[in-house]
């Protein structure tokens, strides 16, 4: 049992925070209930306030202002990390996000930068109900000049966090709630389980998974964050039960749109399915589908299909929530419905 096997995502993020705070003294963390011994609702900041009391601030419940406070710090050369306890609460900060954080650098003609990191957990499947379970990162997709990074449990979470803090642009680091408690399954020897994995991109890389060592594939499934393990379950089922091999592209950078890994895979497979936990309308899949059909129409043998949550609220009761959110079965069915998928 090697230690890396069992390091869970929350530990990896926590260690990265400790290393960042040790390495640089311009990093601050602001958030609700982040002080020890509580250490934050999801324990990502545990131990940090004891080690760096000056730079870890527990805040009032004032998200609308905290986005601005963090932006002000960033404007003045600090590297603030703002922890928003539940991703749903970013709605409170939208004026700051849209009219300030995303605009300052460009509207001030590049005289300033806003090196701000917003860390927030998104996602459901825990029965938290309509206002604590959403995946709202799609709302940020329509905001130019911000960076959205939504890592999966197979990404190098520590490196992504460090990259986000070192980025001069405002970065939203979308962390999936269920991911925290799961092992950070980094590729070993180019594989995660039985799937071969390739990494593309520098700062916020995408991971492409293949069950055939990239020799063949019936479709590409592009996804991110907490949907990855669900998509990998679906892909495994497709392989084991039907010998249908799909490639999976797990993006970590959602904005600016990172299409190269998707196009590269689609060139091999000729078909695309998008999978996201957020609602369908106007989402990540819609944007990817539009771009891919613009750029790779000739590669596609079938229309792009999207897997997403139903357009509605996320109910609290488990069976209702399960019915609302996209499942591995939804992914399997979307792939099976593509033209030219052998079974």
């Amino acid at each position: 049992m090697t230690p890396t096997q069992h390091r869970r995502c929350v530990q990896v993020l926590n260690e990265a925070l400790h290393e960042l705070f040790t390495a640089r003294d311009d990093v601050h963390l602001l958030g609700e209930d982040v002080l020890d011994p509580y250490g934050g609702a999801f324990k990502v900041t545990q131990g940090l306030s004891d080690a760096f009391p000056e730079r870890v601030l527990t805040t009032p419940i004032s998200e609308a202002s905290l986005f601005g406070v963090a932006a002000g710090m960033a404007l003045r050369g600090r590297r603030p990390i703002l922890e928003i306890m539940f991703g749903d609460f970013i709605a409170l900060g939208f004026d700051q996000i849209v009219n300030g954080i995303a605009k300052f650098r460009e509207m001030y003609d590049d005289q300033v930068t806003v090196p701000l990191v917003v860390r927030t957990p998104m996602g459901g499947r825990r029965g938290y109900g309509p206002t604590h379970s959403q995946s709202l990162e799609k709302l940020l997709l329509g905001v130019p000049n911000v960076v959205i990074v939504a890592p999966s449990e197979c990404h190098d979470l520590g490196a992504l966090l460090v990259a986000a803090v070192e980025d001069d642009r405002p970065v939203f680091l979308i962390e999936n709630k269920l991911m925290y408690g799961r092992p950070n399954r980094r590729p070993e020897d180019g594989h995660v389980g039985e799937l071969a994995v390739r990494e593309m991109g520098d700062r916020y890389p995408a991971l492409t998974f293949s069950g055939t060592d990239f020799t063949e594939g019936s479709a590409t499934i592009v996804t991110y964050g907490g949907m990855l393990p669900i998509v990998l379950d679906a892909v495994t089922e497709l392989i084991l039960e039907h010998e249908v091999f799909c490639e999976v592209v797990a993006l970590s950078q959602l904005l600016p749109l990172e299409l190269d890994p998707v196009l590269e895979s689609v060139a091999r497979t000729g078909a695309l399915v998008t999978a996201e936990e957020g609602t369908l309308i106007g989402g990540f899949g819609a944007e990817i589908a539009a771009r891919v059909q613009e750029l790779a129409w000739g590669e596609l043998r079938a229309p792009v299909r999207r897997v997403a949550a139903r357009d509605g609220i996320i109910p609290s009761a488990r069976p209702l929530e399960d019915a609302m959110l996209p499942s591995a079965q939804d992914v399997v069915e979307a792939v099976a419905a593509l033209e030219g998928v052998r079974s």
């Binding site: 049992m1 069992h6 869970r8 250490g39 408690g181 389980g193 039985e194 084991l240 010998e243 091999r268």
Partner: protein
């Protein structure tokens, strides 16, 4: 009985890692003794035994456990322990690390079961698929095969009966180099010669040319080594140009317009080829351009076999007219992501390829499998399968099992059909009295069927049988329908019977055979 439960204390934590058991399974523990280490997102804690007894662990260490679950029970008495041991949560069901991580596909598992293959023999990173199992089966067969043929570059000859002369090292029929040079530089003057003259010149210059070889008008045979056995017949305008060797077995014949271009061509005996048959095409000079056509194969009109990688066609294979075999594709740059495929094709013995069907590079058609007309084969077809469609899919078996009684019935019907055809042709066959063997008489010859031929019958007679157990006497011909041999000799009536059998798929050796009689 006591339970050790991982308690849930925080709304945001649902799983914990059972990091380590501090005591062995079935160990005696004391109350308050630390028994395991559990890590949650919050902390690493030691869990203590709630009381004394024998611990029965329900999880291996190193697994994620949902909070609220019982991870172990403590049996406080022998009865407790006994009931635990017999319960549903016995150790055998304990979730283990890596358990449930099946890596072989359902198809692979099923195929492995059918062939008695142990999947653990497949040492592979990644998923084990049907193809991997097939490869293992083929490898095993190849390992068991008597010898490796070096010029086949690893293509398994399993299931393929190669022509007798298929041999890399033979040296008969080596042609005088200057004569080969003449054939290559002035083929027109050779083509203009008559058959006998061609044979004579070839013989005089080292080629091995058997008796009765017929080289049609305008035909050309050129290769460093040429072996044409007795009775080889090539129709008009045949062109054989091989870079190393051409060897054709006895009684093989091709209709007009044959084109045979490759490095090494070995065509067996009794092969029947139609008109305008082509072997060769792109890459026919490649070192792997090796062609083998097994004895008694049938190659229909206008069949095209592309040979740039080995093409092995087994004994009694049917390539129906216009069927197409390719060993490579053509297309755009491989660096732009287009497929670039060069691969051998193997048709195992008695495989059949229907009208106009296409066999794509890399495919192997198993013995006695049938590819239906118009199909496009992109993957291997298992022996005995019936495949149809574009792309071809297996929909059933190519044949079904017959009972002995049913076989007698079918053979007996051949006699009846022959009787009927002769009657319809106005040859006035007359039925014999009921008896064994039963039959009829036509043009003074009795035609009989008996399941097994054991004793002499009066001549002249033609006897159809499923088992020839005795030698025929003078003037009697016996057709062994199962062994597909003709014993004795006969005239028109024998030929008519043989032709009808051919139409039922029963072809007698030696071939080829063309019906030129007048009765049918």
């Amino acid at each position: 009985m006591l339970e050790i439960v991982l308690t849930r204390e925080d709304a945001n934590t649902e799983f914990a890692l059972l990091a380590e058991w501090l005591v062995a399974d079935r160990a005696e523990v004391e109350q308050g003794q630390p028994v395991c280490v559990v890590e949650t997102t919050k902390a690493t804690v030691e869990v203590e035994a709630p009381g004394a007894g024998t611990i029965v662990q329900l999880y291996e260490d190193g697994v994620e456990v949902e909070l609220g679950k019982v991870v172990a029970r403590i049996a406080e008495s022998a009865e407790d322990l006994a009931s635990l041991e017999s319960g549903a949560e016995a150790a055998s069901t304990k979730p283990k690390r890596g358990d449930g991580e099946r890596k072989a596909t359902r198809k692979a598992v099923e195929l492995a079961e059918r062939h008695g293959v142990d999947l653990s023999e497949i040492d592979k990173r990644g998923f084990v698929t049907e193809k991997d199992v097939e490869a293992l089966i083929a490898r095993r067969a190849a390992d068991a095969a008597p010898s490796e043929r070096p010029l086949l570059a690893g293509v398994s000859t399993q299931g393929v009966t190669l022509p007798a002369r298929f041999d890399a090292d033979g040296d008969d029929g080596l042609l005088e180099p200057s004569f080969l040079e003449y054939l290559r530089t002035d083929p027109a003057s050779f083509r203009a010669l008559g058959s006998e003259e061609k044979c004579r010149l070839l013989r005089e210059n080292g080629a091995s040319i058997g008796d009765g070889v017929l080289l049609g008008d305008g035909s050309l045979v050129a290769a460093p080594r040429i072996v044409l056995e007795d009775g080889v017949e090539l129709g008009a305008n045949a062109t054989i140009l091989c870079e190393e060797v051409v060897a054709i077995g006895s009684l093989t014949r091709f209709g007009p317009g044959l084109e045979l271009l490759c490095r090494r061509a070995f065509v067996g005996a009794g092969v029947w080829g139609g008109r305008s048959v082509r072997f060769g095409g792109g890459g026919h000079r490649d070192p792997w351009a090796v062609l083998a056509v097994g004895d008694l194969a049938f190659v229909g009109d206008e069949t095209f076999v592309n040979v740039c990688r080995p093409v092995l066609i087994g004994r009694e294979v049917f390539l129906t007219m216009r069927s197409l075999i390719v060993t490579h594709n053509i297309g755009h740059s491989v660096l732009e992501g287009f497929e670039n495929r060069f691969a051998p094709v193997v048709l195992e013995d008695r495989a059949q390829v229907g009208l106009g069907a296409v066999i794509y590079a890399g495919c192997r058609i198993g013995a006695e499998a049938i590819v239906a007309s118009g199909s496009y084969v992109t993957a291997d077809i298992a022996p005995g399968a019936f495949a149809i469609g574009v792309p071809a899919k297996v929909t059933g078996s190519s044949s079904h099992a017959l009972s002995p009684a049913r076989r007698v019935e079918l053979a007996s019907r051949i006699l009846d059909d022959l009787h009927e055809l002769l009657a319809l042709g106005g040859h006035e066959p007359t039925a014999l009295e009921e008896g064994d063997p039963r039959g009829f008489e036509v043009e003074g010859v009795r035609v009989l069927f008996t399941p097994s031929f054991r004793e002499a019958v009066p001549s002249p007679a033609v006897v159809l049988t499923l088992a020839a157990l005795a030698e025929p006497s003078e003037g009697v011909a016996v057709l062994d329908l199962v062994a597909r041999r003709v014993l004795g000799s006969g005239g028109e009536v024998l030929e008519a019977a043989r032709e009808l059998c051919r139409k039922r798929g029963i072809r007698f050796e030696p071939g080829p055979w063309r019906y030129r009689g007048r009765l049918l």
